[in-house]
């Protein structure tokens, strides 16, 4: 099982969500974070003009069976991309096991993703 964590622009969230749905990923968890990266944005507070590298981002995180990982990554890249600095990153890692709390079942079956 693979864990996919995508750090995306909040403004692309709806598109990414739909693109994931199309490739069969219907379950995920997300939360808002602050990203520090290449992108900078001009900001003003009272009399101070400054550049901030702290940009609001959203993490979408999900675990899927190995065979879904590639399609999912492609779907995210496709839908999250604007082409400008700061589109974000996707990290893929391996998960040992997964358990569905409601049923206690473990392993791939616990991931209700239609094949």
């Amino acid at each position: 099982m693979k864990k996919i964590e995508a750090i995306i622009r909040i403004s692309r969230f709806e598109e990414v969500s739909e693109a994931l749905h199309e490739v069969g990923i219907d379950f995920f968890t997300y939360w808002d974070v602050t990203g520090v990266g290449n992108e900078k944005s001009g900001a003003i507070y009272r009399a101070t003009v400054y550049e901030t590298r702290y940009i609001p981002r959203r993490i979408i995180s999900f675990v899927c069976r190995d065979q879904f990982a590639e399609a999912a990554v492609n779907a995210i890249v496709r839908s999250a991309k604007t082409g400008e600095l700061g589109d974000g990153k996707i990290f893929i890692s391996t998960v040992d096991d997964s358990v569905r709390i409601r049923t206690g079942e473990a392993g791939p079956e616990s991931l209700y993703i239609k094949d």
Partner: protein, 404 residues
């Protein structure tokens, strides 16, 4: 101690206190609109609410007052720079007391629109709109009714401005929101999506402040305390209409959506208040309850109508609350006025007069609104870019987030 002209002191005191309450409605509008929109546009909506009041203050003082109250013709007052002609004297008020009271009313009309056009309108275009409404649109139709113009002559009754203030604001909101188009994501594949506002705390506090302000808005429109019974009467009708509006909306939403719904009930309170504004002096508290309750039902269906059928995206419900309920309440004066209303044996003519006024002012607001907003659209642009809208207006237009 100098000797006092008690009559003038009391009246002036009253008018100024009422004006202060109306002034505070600006904070109410700011909170309601901030609460009903998303956090990424909060700096922008607050800023618009602040600046429209400031621009309205300057504009109404510089020119609007004269256009509204100057002798002029039945259609138009006069160009009087910096409010230098005294229109308070006739009412036994210092000019500046009457001016200040009228100024906060003008600002109220101005600020209504920002909610309907929230989350996608250019800041600069909005500032220009604010100037135009207080310099031209509002004072002219205001002149018809309150400045001794032609609607006043035919007996049109709009005591505190259901039509003069609220529906003017509401129709401009309608035109503005229609020309702007809906927010991204509001309508997708023919489906109407909910875009929940950020905070019902802000919304509720805003509505309480607006309700408070209405106790200046309606009874203050007596511009005199010579008749204490009348002022007290207006307090009661105003309050009862608001309460009845809320209760009616709760029941309507409970039946229609299976659950009592707060966000709509907040609109219901305002619907009741807007609707009673025209007739608060001439209907009974019982009549006020009925008018308020009807407005509380009407606003639900009106919001649905604009949201789902006409598909004009109005994030705060300004069109329904101020436009539709303002018109509705004005017409109901013809039915519920204790003296001459249809239900009190007065026949249909009163309603006819009310309909004339509503239609004339509506046509004026919509007509000038079309010119104004289309003009702005083609000359300057009124809508921010897709990117700005998606990332929030705070980010690109101001470089300043509302929350840190």
């Amino acid at each position: 101690m100098e000797t006092m002209d008690f009559t003038m002191s009391i009246n002036t005191f009253w008018v100024l206190i009422a004006a202060v309450l109306v002034f505070f409605m600006q904070a109410g509008f700011a909170l309601v609109e901030a609460g009903f929109t998303r956090a990424k546009n909060t700096t922008n909506i607050l800023f618009k609410n602040l600046m429209d009041f400031c621009i309205a203050s300057l504009g109404f003082w510089a020119l609007g007052y004269g256009i509204m109250f100057g002798a002029g013709s039945g259609f138009l007052g006069e160009i009087e720079f910096f409010s230098n002609v005294d229109h308070g004297e006739a009412l036994g008020l210092p000019n500046y007391a009457f001016l200040f009271f009228q100024l906060v009313f003008a600002a109220t009309a101005a600020t209504i629109v920002s909610g309907a056009m929230a989350e996608r309108t250019k800041f600069s275009a909005y500032l220009i709109y604010s100037a135009v409404i207080t310099l031209v649109i509002y004072p002219i139709s205001g002149h018809w009714v309150w400045g001794g113009g032609w609607l006043a002559s035919i007996g049109f009754h709009d005591f505190a401005g259901s039509t003069v203030v609220h529906s003017v604001g509401g129709w401009l909101a309608l035109v503005g929101a229609a020309i702007l188009g809906p927010r991204i994501g509001k309508y997708k594949n023919g489906k109407t999506n909910a875009i929940p506002g950020q905070s019902l705390v802000l919304g509720t506090l805003g509505v309480f402040i607006l309700w408070l302000g209405w106790f200046g808005f309606n009874p203050g429109s007596t511009v005199s305390f010579a008749d204490p019974g009348l002022v007290a009467h207006i307090f009661m009708t105003t309050n009862m209409a608001a309460a009845a509006g809320a209760v009616a909306t709760v029941i309507t939403t409970w039946i229609r959506y299976k659950k009592p719904n707060l966000s709509m009930t907040l609109n219901g309170v305002l619907a009741g208040l807007v609707a009673i504004t025209a007739g608060c002096d001439v209907v009974s508290p019982g009549g006020a309850v009925i008018i308020g309750a009807m407005a509380g039902v009407l606003v639900v269906f009106s919001v649905e109508f604009f949201d789902k059928i006409v598909k004009i995206d109005d994030p705060v419900g300004a069109i329904s609350v101020h436009g539709v309920c303002g018109a509705f309440g004005t017409i109901m004066v013809g039915a519920f006025a204790v003296d001459g209303g249809l239900f009190y044996g007065g026949g249909f003519s009163y309603i006819g007069t009310q309909l004339t006024g509503v239609a004339a002012v509506g046509a004026w607001a919509i007509g000038t609104g079309l010119i104004l907003f289309y003009g702005l659209k083609y000359i300057l642009g009124i809508r921010v870019s897709r990117k700005e809208e998606e990332n929030g207006l705070d980010f690109y237009e101001h470089g300043e987030k509302a929350y840190n």
